[in-house]
């Protein structure tokens, strides 16, 4: 019987070893996850739906296979959950939106199918900001499940739009979850909830069966307890999918590079801690000092492009199109955040000429960024300049706009991979985080340096008292 304290801190490799040593079973792990999600998960507004029947069926199948010597790999028998924009047959797929609370899609998304092939056990659909935040929300209370709460301080926002994924993994209710990011939606809840969240290169993971917000920016990725776990999950879900023409044919294999504990080439984005909260800045400096022991570190500037403007036009235009029927048909009037009921109307005024100008500049920016990132294993920044905002404050009051945006905008418009890992604590006992951004398709380099950092520190092993 696995002790709760063990379940809370065990990595995927730990759990895999315990399963194969007979110290626990897939059924036991699934039940532990279901119980914890039903308790603390619901208190954090992290859960849309538990899937006990499916979970126990998959867990029993995994148990029988492992007993028979049929080993599917590191995720076999491991429980996980998915953000509720990912289709799961026989389950609600609400997209976080009240008007869609009864939506059901009759198939499993490719990412779920691939995790099933890997033997992982799906236990729940997790909460999210309505329509992945694409309607312009300005407050934590923008979801049919209520505001996502941080496991470190329930009066703080979990971050979004993968709010439930951040809370559930941070609360140690599941070892991993699948989130999504258009602009910030994996790294923000990862930072605010103290978990390791990987935004893969655009096109690495099939988006078939996932709600589309912005076709040229949307990515699915793992949110886990450690960087190494992110690599193991990515290894199971990455790869070309004929049903998603934007998925790349370039194969991916996770190579832990555990032997690589030095010789990294890192860069720090100049000015990245200006306007950051003092603890965020201090923890970032401390993390860089740790990394100097295994890396060369130098300051860099991003090439000069209007990254934020490119992101704004791209998201406004594509989201307006992706939800054109929902907007024009009045569906937005049923959304939770009042601003989400109105702001999407502005999308009709974005011209094709302006959108295309953004894409033309974007192409130039991608080439310039590749030239920069080719020189390093990763570029370092704080993931965000602040800790999680209070649950009852709009962002326009609680968060500094424009700070730390450059790497977020640049990274997302260029489809760069990035991982956010915890690196300490700040105001109100809330986690701070460090982001490693890498070159297109260089997930293994980014994961290697993040894993090296986690071998030298223990922030990712801290567990909230809930």
């Amino acid at each position: 019987m696995i002790a709760p304290a063990t379940f809370a801190v065990a990595s995927l490799s730990d759990l895999g070893r315990m399963l194969r040593a007979g110290e626990t079973t897939p059924v036991e792990l699934a039940q532990a996850a279901l119980d914890r999600l039903d308790g603390v998960g619901r208190r954090l507004n992290a859960v849309v739906a538990l899937l006990p029947a499916r979970a126990l069926r998959e867990a029993r199948a995994a148990q029988e296979e492992l007993a028979a010597g049929h080993d599917r790999g590191p995720l076999h028998g491991i429980p996980y959950a998915v953000k509720d924009l990912i289709a799961v047959a026989d389950a609600p797929t609400t997209w976080g939106a009240v008007p869609l609370r009864d939506q059901r899609l009759p198939f499993d998304a490719t990412v779920v199918a691939r995790l099933g092939t890997a033997g992982a056990v799906l236990v729940a659909k997790l909460s999210m900001v309505e329509l992945a935040g694409g309607m312009g929300y300005d407050q934590p209370n923008a979801s049919l499940t209520g505001p996502g709460r941080s496991p470190w301080n329930p009066d703080a926002w979990s971050g979004g739009s993968s709010s439930g994924s951040g809370s559930a993994v941070g609360a140690r209710a599941v070892p991993f979850a699948i989130g999504s990011e258009t602009f910030g939606s994996i790294v923000t809840p990862s930072a605010f909830c103290g978990v390791s969240g990987l935004r893969p290169t655009y096109g690495r993971v099939s988006r078939r069966g996932a709600m589309a917000l912005c076709w040229t920016l949307d990515k699915l990725g793992p949110m886990c307890r450690a960087a190494d776990d992110c690599g193991l999950v990515l290894g199971a879900i990455a790869g070309h999918d004929a049903a998603d023409p934007t998925s790349v044919a370039r194969p991916y294999h996770y190579e832990p590079q555990a032997a690589r504990d030095g010789g990294f080439r890192l860069a720090v984005l100049r000015g990245c801690t200006e306007n950051a909260q003092p603890e965020v800045a201090a923890n970032f400096a401390a993390a860089v000092d740790v990394l100097r022991g295994v890396a060369s570190v130098e300051d860099v500037d991003l090439p000069d492009f209007p990254y934020g403007a490119i992101a704004t036009l791209t998201i406004r235009a594509e989201a307006s199109s992706a939800f054109d029927g929902f907007i024009d048909g009045g569906g937005i009037r049923g959304l939770t955040a009042p601003e989400d009921r109105v702001r999407p109307l502005a999308g009709i005024a974005v011209s094709a000429r302006d959108y295309l100008r953004a894409q033309r500049i974007r192409a130039l920016a991608c080439r310039a960024l590749d030239e920069l990132f080719a020189r390093y294993d990763a570029v370092l920044t704080p993931t965000l300049p602040t800790v999680a905002s209070p649950i009852d404050l709009p962002f326009s009051q609680a968060l500094r706009r424009g700070d730390g945006v450059a790497i977020g905008a640049a990274g997302n418009i260029a489809g760069l991979p990035a991982i956010s890992v915890p690196n300490g604590f700040g105001e109100r006992g809330l986690p701070t985080a460090l982001q490693f951004t890498g070159r297109v398709f260089d997930e293994n380099r980014v994961l290697a340096v993040a894993s090296a950092y986690q071998r030298l520190t223990d922030w990712h092993l801290r567990v909230p008292s809930l």
Binding site: G136, T216, P245, F305, P306, G308, A309, I310, T312, L313, R316, D328, E339, V342, R343, L345, A346, I348, A349, V350, D354, L356, R357, A358, Q359, R360, I361, R362, A363, L364, C366
Partner: protein
């Protein structure tokens, strides 16, 4: 001296409709909006307008194409 051509000549552009004109477009499409909602939409349009101005200030030539998103399709 190489002759400057539309292909090689990087240019900034300046023409963009006013936020008021865009707001009028929104209301032409969706009908008149209550004042509080107009303010919300205007806020979004202000942000878009600033973004467009930043994009317009970045010089591009005819040769600068968007990343290709269309590919001719054949099933086999």
């Amino acid at each position: 001296m190489q002759q400057s051509t539309p292909s090689t000549q990087a240019q900034r552009i300046t023409a963009q409709p006013s936020v008021d004109a865009q707001l009028a477009l929104v209301e032409a499409a969706y009908g008149p909006q209550p004042e509080a909602d107009r303010a919300q939409v205007r806020g979004v349009l202000d942000g878009v307008s600033r973004a467009v101005a930043a994009l317009n200030a970045f010089p591009l030539s005819n040769a600068d194409e968007p990343a290709p998103s269309f590919a001719a399709y054949r099933a086999d």
